[in-house]
Protein backbone atom coordinates (compact mmCIF):
# COMPACT_ATOMS: atom_id res chain seq x y z
CA UNK A 1 0.00 0.00 0.00
CA UNK A 2 1.50 3.33 -1.06
CA UNK A 3 1.52 5.96 1.63
CA UNK A 4 -0.52 9.00 0.54
CA UNK A 5 1.95 11.59 1.82
CA UNK A 6 4.82 9.72 0.22
CA UNK A 7 2.99 9.62 -3.10
CA UNK A 8 2.18 13.33 -2.84
CA UNK A 9 5.82 14.04 -2.10
CA UNK A 10 6.96 11.94 -5.06
CA UNK A 11 4.59 13.77 -7.41
CA UNK A 12 5.80 17.09 -6.05
CA UNK A 13 9.47 16.16 -6.55
CA UNK A 14 8.73 14.91 -10.05
CA UNK A 15 6.78 18.09 -10.84
CA UNK A 16 9.76 20.22 -9.83
CA UNK A 17 12.07 18.22 -12.03
CA UNK A 18 9.61 18.46 -14.91
CA UNK A 19 9.48 22.25 -14.58
CA UNK A 20 13.26 22.40 -14.43
CA UNK A 21 13.56 20.17 -17.51
CA UNK A 22 11.18 22.47 -19.38
CA UNK A 23 13.09 25.56 -18.29
CA UNK A 24 16.48 24.10 -19.12
CA UNK A 25 15.40 23.08 -22.63
CA UNK A 26 15.36 26.76 -23.61
CA UNK A 27 19.16 26.72 -23.32
CA UNK A 28 19.48 24.29 -26.21
CA UNK A 29 19.90 25.33 -29.84
CA UNK A 30 18.27 22.08 -30.91
CA UNK A 31 15.12 23.10 -29.12
CA UNK A 32 14.89 26.26 -31.23
CA UNK A 33 15.55 24.33 -34.44
CA UNK A 34 12.65 22.09 -33.45
CA UNK A 35 10.47 25.11 -32.71
CA UNK A 36 11.37 26.69 -36.05
CA UNK A 37 10.49 23.49 -37.87
CA UNK A 38 7.00 23.74 -36.41
CA UNK A 39 6.39 27.43 -36.77
CA UNK A 40 8.25 28.40 -39.91
CA UNK A 41 5.95 26.57 -42.38
CA UNK A 42 2.77 28.24 -41.04
CA UNK A 43 4.60 31.56 -41.04
CA UNK A 44 5.65 31.19 -44.68
CA UNK A 45 2.18 30.00 -45.58
CA UNK A 46 0.70 33.08 -43.93
CA UNK A 47 3.03 35.38 -45.82
CA UNK A 48 2.37 33.62 -49.09
CA UNK A 49 -1.39 33.58 -48.46
CA UNK A 50 -1.73 37.24 -47.54
CA UNK A 51 0.51 38.41 -50.38
CA UNK A 52 -0.85 36.26 -53.23
CA UNK A 53 -4.07 34.50 -52.33
CA UNK A 54 -6.07 36.40 -49.73
CA UNK A 55 -7.38 39.12 -52.07
CA UNK A 56 -8.35 36.57 -54.69
CA UNK A 57 -10.33 34.57 -52.09
CA UNK A 58 -12.10 37.72 -50.84
CA UNK A 59 -13.06 38.71 -54.39
CA UNK A 60 -14.26 35.18 -55.21
CA UNK A 61 -16.43 35.05 -52.07
CA UNK A 62 -17.86 38.53 -52.73
CA UNK A 63 -18.57 37.62 -56.33
CA UNK A 64 -20.35 34.41 -55.30
CA UNK A 65 -22.55 36.27 -52.83
CA UNK A 66 -23.22 38.98 -55.42
CA UNK A 67 -24.17 36.42 -58.06
CA UNK A 68 -26.04 33.87 -55.95
CA UNK A 69 -27.16 35.93 -52.99
CA UNK A 70 -27.36 34.53 -49.42
CA UNK A 71 -27.76 30.99 -50.77
CA UNK A 72 -24.08 30.99 -51.74
CA UNK A 73 -23.02 31.06 -48.11
CA UNK A 74 -23.59 27.32 -47.67
CA UNK A 75 -21.35 26.58 -50.67
CA UNK A 76 -18.70 28.94 -49.39
CA UNK A 77 -18.75 27.20 -45.98
CA UNK A 78 -18.48 23.73 -47.50
CA UNK A 79 -15.62 24.86 -49.71
CA UNK A 80 -13.67 26.28 -46.75
CA UNK A 81 -14.27 23.18 -44.64
CA UNK A 82 -12.85 21.10 -47.51
CA UNK A 83 -9.77 23.33 -47.66
CA UNK A 84 -9.24 22.77 -43.91
CA UNK A 85 -9.58 19.03 -44.49
CA UNK A 86 -6.92 19.33 -47.18
CA UNK A 87 -4.53 20.71 -44.58
CA UNK A 88 -4.01 17.18 -43.29
CA UNK A 89 -1.21 16.96 -45.85
CA UNK A 90 0.81 19.50 -43.87
CA UNK A 91 0.50 17.49 -40.68
CA UNK A 92 1.21 14.09 -42.20
CA UNK A 93 3.83 15.35 -44.65
CA UNK A 94 5.79 17.57 -42.31
CA UNK A 95 5.04 16.87 -38.68
CA UNK A 96 4.51 13.13 -39.00
CA UNK A 97 7.33 12.35 -41.40
CA UNK A 98 10.57 10.45 -41.00
CA UNK A 99 12.38 13.79 -41.02
CA UNK A 100 10.58 14.73 -37.84
CA UNK A 101 11.51 11.32 -36.42
CA UNK A 102 15.17 12.08 -37.09
CA UNK A 103 15.00 15.51 -35.49
CA UNK A 104 13.35 13.98 -32.45
CA UNK A 105 16.16 11.40 -32.38
CA UNK A 106 18.74 14.20 -32.49
CA UNK A 107 17.11 15.84 -29.47
CA UNK A 108 16.37 12.73 -27.42
CA UNK A 109 19.75 11.14 -28.15
CA UNK A 110 21.17 13.62 -25.64
CA UNK A 111 18.90 12.39 -22.87
CA UNK A 112 20.79 9.18 -22.12
CA UNK A 113 23.35 8.39 -24.87
CA UNK A 114 24.66 11.98 -24.85
CA UNK A 115 25.05 11.95 -21.09
CA UNK A 116 26.81 8.59 -21.16
CA UNK A 117 29.19 9.92 -23.78
CA UNK A 118 29.99 13.12 -21.87
CA UNK A 119 30.09 11.46 -18.44
CA UNK A 120 27.17 13.56 -17.16
CA UNK A 121 25.31 10.35 -16.31
CA UNK A 122 27.78 9.77 -13.48
CA UNK A 123 26.24 12.82 -11.86
CA UNK A 124 22.58 12.52 -12.87
CA UNK A 125 22.22 8.78 -12.28
CA UNK A 126 23.80 8.85 -8.85
CA UNK A 127 21.19 11.12 -7.32
CA UNK A 128 18.02 10.67 -5.30
CA UNK A 129 15.78 10.90 -8.38
CA UNK A 130 15.45 7.57 -10.15
CA UNK A 131 16.83 7.18 -13.67
CA UNK A 132 13.42 6.39 -15.10
CA UNK A 133 12.03 9.43 -13.28
CA UNK A 134 14.63 11.64 -14.95
CA UNK A 135 13.92 10.13 -18.36
CA UNK A 136 10.17 10.46 -17.88
CA UNK A 137 10.53 14.12 -16.89
CA UNK A 138 12.55 14.80 -20.05
CA UNK A 139 10.07 12.89 -22.18
CA UNK A 140 7.03 14.69 -20.77
CA UNK A 141 8.73 18.10 -20.95
CA UNK A 142 9.50 17.48 -24.61
CA UNK A 143 5.97 16.27 -25.25
CA UNK A 144 4.39 19.31 -23.61
CA UNK A 145 6.49 21.60 -25.79
CA UNK A 146 5.67 19.53 -28.89
CA UNK A 147 1.96 19.57 -28.07
CA UNK A 148 2.05 23.35 -27.72
CA UNK A 149 3.90 23.75 -31.03
CA UNK A 150 1.58 21.35 -32.87
CA UNK A 151 -1.52 23.07 -31.50
CA UNK A 152 -0.25 26.52 -32.42
CA UNK A 153 0.87 25.44 -35.90
CA UNK A 154 -2.33 23.61 -36.84
CA UNK A 155 -4.71 26.17 -35.33
CA UNK A 156 -2.75 28.92 -37.02
CA UNK A 157 -3.13 27.37 -40.47
CA UNK A 158 -6.76 26.48 -39.76
CA UNK A 159 -7.60 30.04 -38.82
CA UNK A 160 -5.60 31.32 -41.78
CA UNK A 161 -7.74 29.34 -44.21
CA UNK A 162 -10.90 30.74 -42.63
CA UNK A 163 -9.85 34.42 -42.52
CA UNK A 164 -11.59 35.42 -45.81
CA UNK A 165 -14.89 34.51 -44.10
CA UNK A 166 -14.51 37.27 -41.50
CA UNK A 167 -15.79 39.91 -43.97
CA UNK A 168 -18.97 37.94 -44.67
CA UNK A 169 -19.60 37.03 -41.02
CA UNK A 170 -19.10 33.30 -41.51
CA UNK A 171 -15.82 32.87 -39.63
CA UNK A 172 -17.15 31.54 -36.32
CA UNK A 173 -19.66 29.23 -37.99
CA UNK A 174 -16.90 27.82 -40.20
CA UNK A 175 -14.54 27.52 -37.23
CA UNK A 176 -17.10 25.55 -35.23
CA UNK A 177 -17.59 23.21 -38.20
CA UNK A 178 -13.86 22.63 -38.63
CA UNK A 179 -12.86 22.56 -34.95
CA UNK A 180 -13.25 18.78 -34.72
CA UNK A 181 -11.07 18.31 -37.82
CA UNK A 182 -8.39 20.53 -36.36
CA UNK A 183 -8.56 18.67 -33.04
CA UNK A 184 -8.14 15.32 -34.80
CA UNK A 185 -5.14 16.67 -36.69
CA UNK A 186 -3.61 17.96 -33.47
CA UNK A 187 -4.34 14.71 -31.62
CA UNK A 188 -2.99 12.33 -34.25
CA UNK A 189 0.10 14.48 -34.87
CA UNK A 190 0.88 14.58 -31.14
CA UNK A 191 0.33 10.83 -30.92
CA UNK A 192 2.71 10.30 -33.79
CA UNK A 193 5.36 12.55 -32.21
CA UNK A 194 4.83 10.65 -28.97
CA UNK A 195 5.52 7.36 -30.77
CA UNK A 196 8.62 8.75 -32.49
CA UNK A 197 9.91 10.14 -29.21
CA UNK A 198 9.28 6.85 -27.47
CA UNK A 199 11.29 4.93 -30.08
CA UNK A 200 14.05 7.54 -30.14
CA UNK A 201 14.25 7.39 -26.33
CA UNK A 202 14.63 3.63 -26.46
CA UNK A 203 17.46 3.99 -28.98
CA UNK A 204 19.06 6.60 -26.75
CA UNK A 205 19.04 4.16 -23.83
CA UNK A 206 20.49 1.39 -25.99
CA UNK A 207 23.34 3.49 -27.43
CA UNK A 208 26.62 4.49 -25.82
CA UNK A 209 26.90 7.55 -28.09
CA UNK A 210 24.28 9.99 -29.38
CA UNK A 211 25.34 9.46 -32.98
CA UNK A 212 24.60 5.73 -32.71
CA UNK A 213 21.09 6.53 -31.40
CA UNK A 214 20.50 8.84 -34.37
CA UNK A 215 21.79 6.22 -36.81
CA UNK A 216 19.49 3.63 -35.21
CA UNK A 217 16.54 5.95 -35.81
CA UNK A 218 17.75 6.59 -39.35
CA UNK A 219 17.95 2.85 -39.95
CA UNK A 220 14.48 2.46 -38.52
CA UNK A 221 12.87 5.20 -40.59
CA UNK A 222 14.77 4.57 -43.81
CA UNK A 223 15.65 0.92 -43.93
CA UNK A 224 13.37 -1.12 -41.71
CA UNK A 225 10.24 0.81 -42.62
CA UNK A 226 11.06 0.57 -46.34
CA UNK A 227 11.83 -3.15 -46.14
CA UNK A 228 8.69 -4.03 -44.21
CA UNK A 229 6.59 -1.87 -46.53
CA UNK A 230 7.94 -3.72 -49.56
CA UNK A 231 7.37 -7.11 -47.90
CA UNK A 232 3.84 -6.04 -46.99
CA UNK A 233 3.17 -4.85 -50.53
CA UNK A 234 4.54 -7.94 -52.26
CA UNK A 235 3.35 -10.69 -49.93
CA UNK A 236 0.34 -8.96 -48.42
CA UNK A 237 -1.84 -9.92 -51.36
CA UNK A 238 -1.44 -13.61 -50.54
CA UNK A 239 -1.31 -13.26 -46.79
CA UNK A 240 -3.39 -10.38 -45.40
CA UNK A 241 -1.73 -10.73 -42.01
CA UNK A 242 1.47 -9.40 -43.56
CA UNK A 243 -0.27 -6.11 -44.20
CA UNK A 244 0.12 -5.48 -40.51
CA UNK A 245 3.85 -4.95 -41.05
CA UNK A 246 2.90 -1.63 -42.58
CA UNK A 247 1.91 -0.40 -39.16
CA UNK A 248 5.55 -0.25 -38.18
CA UNK A 249 5.78 2.74 -40.48
CA UNK A 250 4.74 5.37 -37.99
CA UNK A 251 4.28 8.33 -40.29
CA UNK A 252 2.31 6.31 -42.79
CA UNK A 253 -0.05 4.98 -40.16
CA UNK A 254 -0.49 8.36 -38.61
CA UNK A 255 -1.56 9.86 -41.89
CA UNK A 256 -3.88 6.93 -42.63
CA UNK A 257 -5.55 7.36 -39.26
CA UNK A 258 -5.93 11.03 -39.97
CA UNK A 259 -7.29 10.46 -43.44
CA UNK A 260 -9.80 8.03 -42.07
CA UNK A 261 -11.11 10.22 -39.32
CA UNK A 262 -11.12 13.42 -41.32
CA UNK A 263 -12.36 12.22 -44.67
CA UNK A 264 -14.71 9.49 -43.59
CA UNK A 265 -15.00 5.74 -44.00
CA UNK A 266 -14.68 5.59 -47.76
CA UNK A 267 -11.47 7.40 -48.45
CA UNK A 268 -8.96 5.07 -46.87
CA UNK A 269 -10.19 2.21 -49.05
CA UNK A 270 -8.72 3.98 -52.04
CA UNK A 271 -5.27 3.43 -50.60
CA UNK A 272 -3.25 0.65 -52.21
CA UNK A 273 -2.93 -1.09 -48.89
CA UNK A 274 -6.18 -1.66 -47.03
CA UNK A 275 -4.95 -0.69 -43.62
CA UNK A 276 -7.26 -0.65 -40.68
CA UNK A 277 -7.07 2.82 -39.08
CA UNK A 278 -8.07 1.52 -35.66
CA UNK A 279 -5.27 -1.03 -35.67
CA UNK A 280 -2.93 1.72 -36.83
CA UNK A 281 -4.09 3.90 -33.95
CA UNK A 282 -3.53 1.02 -31.54
CA UNK A 283 -0.03 0.51 -32.95
CA UNK A 284 0.76 4.20 -32.44
CA UNK A 285 -0.36 3.99 -28.83
CA UNK A 286 1.45 0.68 -28.28
CA UNK A 287 4.70 2.03 -29.72
CA UNK A 288 4.36 5.19 -27.62
CA UNK A 289 3.78 3.36 -24.37
CA UNK A 290 5.81 0.21 -25.09
CA UNK A 291 8.94 2.01 -26.25
CA UNK A 292 8.95 4.27 -23.23
CA UNK A 293 8.25 1.48 -20.74
CA UNK A 294 11.03 -0.62 -22.24
CA UNK A 295 13.40 2.36 -22.14
CA UNK A 296 12.58 2.94 -18.44
CA UNK A 297 13.02 -0.75 -17.59
CA UNK A 298 16.38 -0.90 -19.35
CA UNK A 299 17.48 2.27 -17.64
CA UNK A 300 16.68 0.89 -14.20
CA UNK A 301 18.27 -2.50 -14.75
CA UNK A 302 21.27 -1.80 -16.98
CA UNK A 303 24.71 -0.90 -15.75
CA UNK A 304 26.11 2.49 -16.70
CA UNK A 305 29.86 2.49 -16.38
Amino acid sequence: MVDRDELKNKIEVFGRLLLEEMRISYRSKRFYIYLILFLLPPLFMSLWYFIFQYHIDIQTIDLKIFMQGEGAKEDILTERVNIVKGMRGISSGLYMSGLMGLLIAVISSEWVAGERHSGMHNITFSKFMSRSGILLARYIAFLIHSAIFVTIAILWVGVLVLTPLINVGLFFEAFSKTANILLIMIGVTILCILAYTSLATLFSVLSPRPMIAIIMMLIYTMVIVSIVSVIALIFGQQNPALYNLMYLSLSNDGSVVMEHFILGEEFWKSYIIPQDPYVALSVLIAVSVGGLVLACLLLETREFS
Binding site: L17, L19, E20, R27, M120, M129, S305
Partner: protein, 313 residues
Protein backbone atom coordinates in the same frame (compact mmCIF):
# COMPACT_ATOMS: atom_id res chain seq x y z
CA UNK B 1 33.92 2.14 17.43
CA UNK B 2 32.07 4.85 15.55
CA UNK B 3 29.12 4.14 13.27
CA UNK B 4 30.18 2.83 9.83
CA UNK B 5 28.99 5.20 7.11
CA UNK B 6 30.26 2.92 4.36
CA UNK B 7 30.39 -0.81 4.85
CA UNK B 8 31.72 -3.02 2.09
CA UNK B 9 31.88 -6.78 2.48
CA UNK B 10 33.58 -9.10 0.02
CA UNK B 11 32.78 -7.13 -3.12
CA UNK B 12 33.54 -9.01 -6.32
CA UNK B 13 33.12 -7.55 -9.77
CA UNK B 14 34.01 -8.90 -13.19
CA UNK B 15 34.02 -7.01 -16.48
CA UNK B 16 33.72 -9.94 -18.83
CA UNK B 17 36.63 -12.17 -17.87
CA UNK B 18 38.58 -9.38 -16.20
CA UNK B 19 38.33 -9.33 -12.42
CA UNK B 20 38.03 -5.75 -11.24
CA UNK B 21 37.32 -6.46 -7.58
CA UNK B 22 38.31 -9.63 -5.77
CA UNK B 23 36.58 -9.57 -2.41
CA UNK B 24 37.01 -6.00 -1.27
CA UNK B 25 36.11 -5.40 2.37
CA UNK B 26 36.42 -2.17 4.34
CA UNK B 27 34.51 0.20 6.55
CA UNK B 28 34.49 3.97 6.71
CA UNK B 29 33.72 5.50 10.09
CA UNK B 30 31.53 8.52 10.59
CA UNK B 31 33.27 11.90 10.53
CA UNK B 32 36.52 10.71 8.98
CA UNK B 33 38.29 11.39 5.72
CA UNK B 34 39.07 8.02 4.24
CA UNK B 35 41.74 7.83 1.58
CA UNK B 36 41.07 5.22 -1.07
CA UNK B 37 44.39 4.67 -2.79
CA UNK B 38 45.49 2.63 -5.72
CA UNK B 39 47.08 2.86 -9.13
CA UNK B 40 44.96 3.36 -12.25
CA UNK B 41 42.79 0.31 -12.87
CA UNK B 42 43.08 -0.89 -9.27
CA UNK B 43 39.32 -0.96 -8.74
CA UNK B 44 38.73 2.37 -6.95
CA UNK B 45 36.15 3.75 -9.37
CA UNK B 46 34.47 0.35 -9.69
CA UNK B 47 33.96 0.27 -5.92
CA UNK B 48 32.56 3.80 -5.96
CA UNK B 49 30.19 3.00 -8.81
CA UNK B 50 28.88 0.02 -6.89
CA UNK B 51 28.34 2.20 -3.83
CA UNK B 52 26.33 4.62 -5.96
CA UNK B 53 24.32 1.94 -7.72
CA UNK B 54 25.71 2.80 -11.15
CA UNK B 55 26.86 -0.79 -11.54
CA UNK B 56 26.05 -3.99 -9.69
CA UNK B 57 28.49 -6.26 -7.90
CA UNK B 58 28.75 -9.94 -8.81
CA UNK B 59 29.13 -10.90 -5.16
CA UNK B 60 29.38 -9.28 -1.77
CA UNK B 61 27.41 -6.54 -0.04
CA UNK B 62 27.72 -2.80 0.28
CA UNK B 63 25.92 -0.34 2.54
CA UNK B 64 25.89 3.44 2.71
CA UNK B 65 24.55 5.27 5.76
CA UNK B 66 22.91 2.06 6.93
CA UNK B 67 21.02 1.59 3.65
CA UNK B 68 21.70 -0.71 0.74
CA UNK B 69 24.27 0.91 -1.56
CA UNK B 70 22.63 2.59 -4.53
CA UNK B 71 19.23 2.88 -2.84
CA UNK B 72 17.46 6.20 -3.36
CA UNK B 73 17.15 6.72 0.38
CA UNK B 74 20.92 6.49 0.77
CA UNK B 75 21.73 8.57 -2.30
CA UNK B 76 19.66 11.47 -0.98
CA UNK B 77 22.38 12.03 1.65
CA UNK B 78 25.39 11.46 -0.60
CA UNK B 79 27.36 14.02 -2.60
CA UNK B 80 29.42 12.62 -5.44
CA UNK B 81 32.19 14.07 -7.56
CA UNK B 82 33.00 11.64 -10.38
CA UNK B 83 36.42 11.19 -11.88
CA UNK B 84 35.03 12.39 -15.21
CA UNK B 85 32.23 14.82 -14.43
CA UNK B 86 30.06 15.69 -17.40
CA UNK B 87 28.65 19.08 -18.28
CA UNK B 88 26.27 20.69 -20.71
CA UNK B 89 28.35 23.45 -22.27
CA UNK B 90 25.31 25.55 -23.24
CA UNK B 91 23.99 25.67 -19.67
CA UNK B 92 24.99 28.40 -17.26
CA UNK B 93 26.74 27.49 -14.03
CA UNK B 94 23.59 28.37 -12.12
CA UNK B 95 21.47 26.16 -14.38
CA UNK B 96 23.81 23.26 -13.73
CA UNK B 97 23.77 23.63 -9.98
CA UNK B 98 20.01 24.25 -9.85
CA UNK B 99 19.30 21.24 -12.00
CA UNK B 100 21.38 18.97 -9.77
CA UNK B 101 19.52 20.39 -6.79
CA UNK B 102 16.19 19.32 -8.31
CA UNK B 103 17.61 15.82 -8.82
CA UNK B 104 17.72 15.66 -5.03
CA UNK B 105 14.09 16.74 -4.85
CA UNK B 106 14.91 20.27 -3.69
CA UNK B 107 12.33 23.01 -4.20
CA UNK B 108 13.25 25.26 -7.13
CA UNK B 109 13.84 28.36 -4.98
CA UNK B 110 15.84 26.42 -2.46
CA UNK B 111 17.94 24.85 -5.23
CA UNK B 112 18.65 28.30 -6.69
CA UNK B 113 19.56 29.78 -3.31
CA UNK B 114 21.88 26.89 -2.48
CA UNK B 115 23.41 27.00 -5.98
CA UNK B 116 24.23 30.70 -5.65
CA UNK B 117 25.65 30.13 -2.18
CA UNK B 118 27.91 27.31 -3.36
CA UNK B 119 29.10 29.20 -6.43
CA UNK B 120 30.19 32.03 -4.13
CA UNK B 121 31.84 29.50 -1.82
CA UNK B 122 33.86 28.01 -4.67
CA UNK B 123 34.69 31.51 -5.98
CA UNK B 124 32.67 31.17 -9.15
CA UNK B 125 29.91 33.57 -8.09
CA UNK B 126 30.81 36.08 -10.79
CA UNK B 127 30.45 33.36 -13.39
CA UNK B 128 26.99 32.19 -12.30
CA UNK B 129 25.28 33.37 -15.49
CA UNK B 130 28.11 32.43 -17.84
CA UNK B 131 27.96 29.34 -20.01
CA UNK B 132 29.91 26.31 -18.82
CA UNK B 133 31.53 26.09 -22.26
CA UNK B 134 33.46 29.28 -21.43
CA UNK B 135 35.09 27.82 -18.32
CA UNK B 136 38.66 26.54 -18.07
CA UNK B 137 39.29 22.91 -17.08
CA UNK B 138 40.16 23.96 -13.53
CA UNK B 139 36.99 26.03 -13.18
CA UNK B 140 34.92 23.09 -14.41
CA UNK B 141 36.53 20.88 -11.80
CA UNK B 142 35.67 23.41 -9.10
CA UNK B 143 32.09 23.55 -10.36
CA UNK B 144 31.89 19.76 -10.26
CA UNK B 145 33.28 19.84 -6.74
CA UNK B 146 30.66 22.38 -5.66
CA UNK B 147 27.77 20.35 -7.06
CA UNK B 148 28.68 17.53 -4.69
CA UNK B 149 27.66 19.80 -1.80
CA UNK B 150 24.29 20.96 -3.19
CA UNK B 151 22.26 18.62 -0.96
CA UNK B 152 24.30 19.33 2.17
CA UNK B 153 25.44 15.67 2.19
CA UNK B 154 26.41 13.51 5.15
CA UNK B 155 28.75 11.50 2.95
CA UNK B 156 30.99 12.87 0.21
CA UNK B 157 32.44 10.52 -2.36
CA UNK B 158 35.22 12.32 -4.20
CA UNK B 159 36.94 10.58 -7.08
CA UNK B 160 40.16 12.40 -7.98
CA UNK B 161 38.80 15.77 -6.80
CA UNK B 162 41.93 17.77 -7.57
CA UNK B 163 42.57 16.75 -11.16
CA UNK B 164 43.02 19.68 -13.57
CA UNK B 165 43.55 22.12 -10.70
CA UNK B 166 46.46 24.51 -10.31
CA UNK B 167 48.48 24.30 -7.04
CA UNK B 168 46.57 27.11 -5.30
CA UNK B 169 43.21 25.68 -6.23
CA UNK B 170 44.35 22.24 -5.04
CA UNK B 171 45.21 23.62 -1.63
CA UNK B 172 41.87 25.43 -1.53
CA UNK B 173 39.93 22.28 -2.39
CA UNK B 174 41.88 20.18 0.13
CA UNK B 175 41.14 22.78 2.81
CA UNK B 176 37.45 22.62 1.92
CA UNK B 177 37.55 18.83 2.25
CA UNK B 178 39.17 19.19 5.67
CA UNK B 179 36.56 21.67 6.79
CA UNK B 180 33.82 19.35 5.51
CA UNK B 181 35.19 16.66 7.84
CA UNK B 182 35.33 19.16 10.70
CA UNK B 183 31.64 19.90 10.05
CA UNK B 184 30.92 16.24 10.72
CA UNK B 185 30.71 14.93 7.17
CA UNK B 186 32.35 11.69 6.14
CA UNK B 187 34.58 11.77 3.07
CA UNK B 188 35.72 8.94 0.83
CA UNK B 189 38.67 10.42 -1.00
CA UNK B 190 39.80 8.36 -3.95
CA UNK B 191 43.10 9.38 -5.47
CA UNK B 192 46.57 8.39 -6.50
CA UNK B 193 48.04 11.77 -5.57
CA UNK B 194 49.48 10.62 -2.29
CA UNK B 195 50.64 13.88 -0.70
CA UNK B 196 47.09 15.17 -1.06
CA UNK B 197 45.61 12.10 0.58
CA UNK B 198 48.16 12.39 3.34
CA UNK B 199 47.16 16.01 3.84
CA UNK B 200 43.47 15.34 4.42
CA UNK B 201 42.98 11.68 5.30
CA UNK B 202 43.38 9.96 8.62
CA UNK B 203 42.53 6.46 7.42
CA UNK B 204 43.50 4.80 4.16
CA UNK B 205 42.85 1.71 2.14
CA UNK B 206 45.32 0.63 -0.51
CA UNK B 207 43.78 -1.34 -3.34
CA UNK B 208 45.71 -3.01 -6.12
CA UNK B 209 44.30 -5.22 -8.88
CA UNK B 210 41.02 -5.47 -7.05
CA UNK B 211 42.59 -6.56 -3.78
CA UNK B 212 42.87 -4.59 -0.57
CA UNK B 213 46.58 -4.70 0.28
CA UNK B 214 46.51 -2.64 3.44
CA UNK B 215 44.14 -0.53 5.47
CA UNK B 216 44.15 1.42 8.67
CA UNK B 217 45.34 4.68 10.17
CA UNK B 218 48.20 6.26 8.25
CA UNK B 219 50.20 6.47 11.47
CA UNK B 220 49.83 2.75 12.03
CA UNK B 221 50.84 1.86 8.48
CA UNK B 222 53.94 4.03 8.80
CA UNK B 223 55.39 1.66 11.38
CA UNK B 224 55.32 -1.30 9.09
CA UNK B 225 58.91 -1.09 7.79
CA UNK B 226 60.34 -1.41 11.34
CA UNK B 227 62.73 1.47 10.99
CA UNK B 228 63.78 3.63 13.90
CA UNK B 229 65.60 6.90 14.19
CA UNK B 230 68.03 7.27 17.11
CA UNK B 231 69.62 10.59 18.01
CA UNK B 232 72.66 10.32 20.24
CA UNK B 233 75.91 12.17 21.02
CA UNK B 234 78.02 9.34 19.51
CA UNK B 235 76.24 7.33 16.86
CA UNK B 236 79.33 5.48 15.64
CA UNK B 237 79.70 3.43 18.85
CA UNK B 238 76.04 2.49 18.69
CA UNK B 239 76.32 1.47 15.04
CA UNK B 240 79.15 -0.92 15.82
CA UNK B 241 77.16 -2.49 18.63
CA UNK B 242 73.89 -2.74 16.62
CA UNK B 243 75.57 -4.35 13.61
CA UNK B 244 76.42 -7.39 15.75
CA UNK B 245 72.78 -8.11 16.54
CA UNK B 246 71.17 -10.87 14.49
CA UNK B 247 67.72 -9.23 14.25
CA UNK B 248 69.07 -5.89 12.99
CA UNK B 249 68.78 -5.78 9.24
CA UNK B 250 70.41 -2.49 8.40
CA UNK B 251 72.07 0.42 10.22
CA UNK B 252 73.00 3.72 8.62
CA UNK B 253 74.22 7.08 9.89
CA UNK B 254 72.21 10.04 8.70
CA UNK B 255 74.26 12.87 10.23
CA UNK B 256 76.62 13.49 13.14
CA UNK B 257 73.96 12.68 15.72
CA UNK B 258 71.34 10.56 13.98
CA UNK B 259 71.26 6.96 12.80
CA UNK B 260 68.59 4.76 11.25
CA UNK B 261 68.05 1.15 12.30
CA UNK B 262 65.93 -1.28 10.32
CA UNK B 263 65.04 -4.37 12.33
CA UNK B 264 63.38 -7.70 11.70
CA UNK B 265 62.09 -8.29 15.22
CA UNK B 266 60.46 -5.16 16.56
CA UNK B 267 59.52 -6.39 20.03
CA UNK B 268 62.99 -7.78 20.71
CA UNK B 269 64.64 -4.59 19.52
CA UNK B 270 62.35 -2.34 21.56
CA UNK B 271 62.96 -4.54 24.61
CA UNK B 272 66.75 -4.48 24.34
CA UNK B 273 67.60 -1.01 23.01
CA UNK B 274 67.72 0.64 26.46
CA UNK B 275 70.22 -1.94 27.67
CA UNK B 276 72.36 -1.56 24.51
CA UNK B 277 72.49 2.22 24.85
CA UNK B 278 73.46 1.93 28.49
CA UNK B 279 76.16 -0.63 27.59
CA UNK B 280 77.64 1.74 24.94
CA UNK B 281 77.60 4.62 27.37
CA UNK B 282 76.16 7.09 24.91
CA UNK B 283 73.65 9.80 25.70
CA UNK B 284 70.22 9.21 24.11
CA UNK B 285 68.64 12.38 22.76
CA UNK B 286 65.69 10.94 20.83
CA UNK B 287 64.31 7.52 19.91
CA UNK B 288 61.30 7.14 17.55
CA UNK B 289 59.93 5.05 14.72
CA UNK B 290 60.70 6.65 11.37
CA UNK B 291 57.78 8.61 9.88
CA UNK B 292 57.68 6.98 6.51
CA UNK B 293 55.94 9.08 3.89
CA UNK B 294 52.64 7.83 2.54
CA UNK B 295 54.31 7.61 -0.83
CA UNK B 296 56.88 5.19 0.55
CA UNK B 297 54.23 3.16 2.31
CA UNK B 298 52.19 2.98 -0.87
CA UNK B 299 55.09 2.05 -3.15
CA UNK B 300 56.36 -0.55 -0.70
CA UNK B 301 52.98 -2.16 -0.19
CA UNK B 302 52.09 -2.21 -3.88
CA UNK B 303 55.55 -3.52 -4.84
CA UNK B 304 55.52 -6.21 -2.23
CA UNK B 305 51.99 -7.16 -3.12
CA UNK B 306 51.12 -6.52 0.51
CA UNK B 307 49.02 -8.68 2.72
CA UNK B 308 45.60 -8.87 1.10
CA UNK B 309 42.95 -7.82 3.56
CA UNK B 310 39.63 -9.61 3.28
CA UNK B 311 40.33 -11.07 -0.11
CA UNK B 312 42.25 -13.67 -2.01
CA UNK B 313 44.95 -13.22 -4.56
Amino acid sequence: MKEAVIKVEGLVKFYGKIRALAGVTFEVEHGTCFGYLGPNGAGKTTTIRILLGLIKQDAGRAFILGEKAGSRKALRRVGYLPERPGFYDHWTLLDYMRYIGTLYGMALREAKRRAEELLEWIKLGDWAYEKIGNLSAGMRQRLAFAQAFINDPDLLILDEPTSNLDPMARIEILDKIKSAVREGRTVLFSSHVLPEVERVSDHIVIIHRGLILAQGRIEDLRRLPNTYSIKTDNPQILVNELKNLSYVKNVSIKDRETLFVEVEDVSRFEGEIARIIAKCGVKLKRFEPVGESLENIYVRIVREGGIPVGGQR
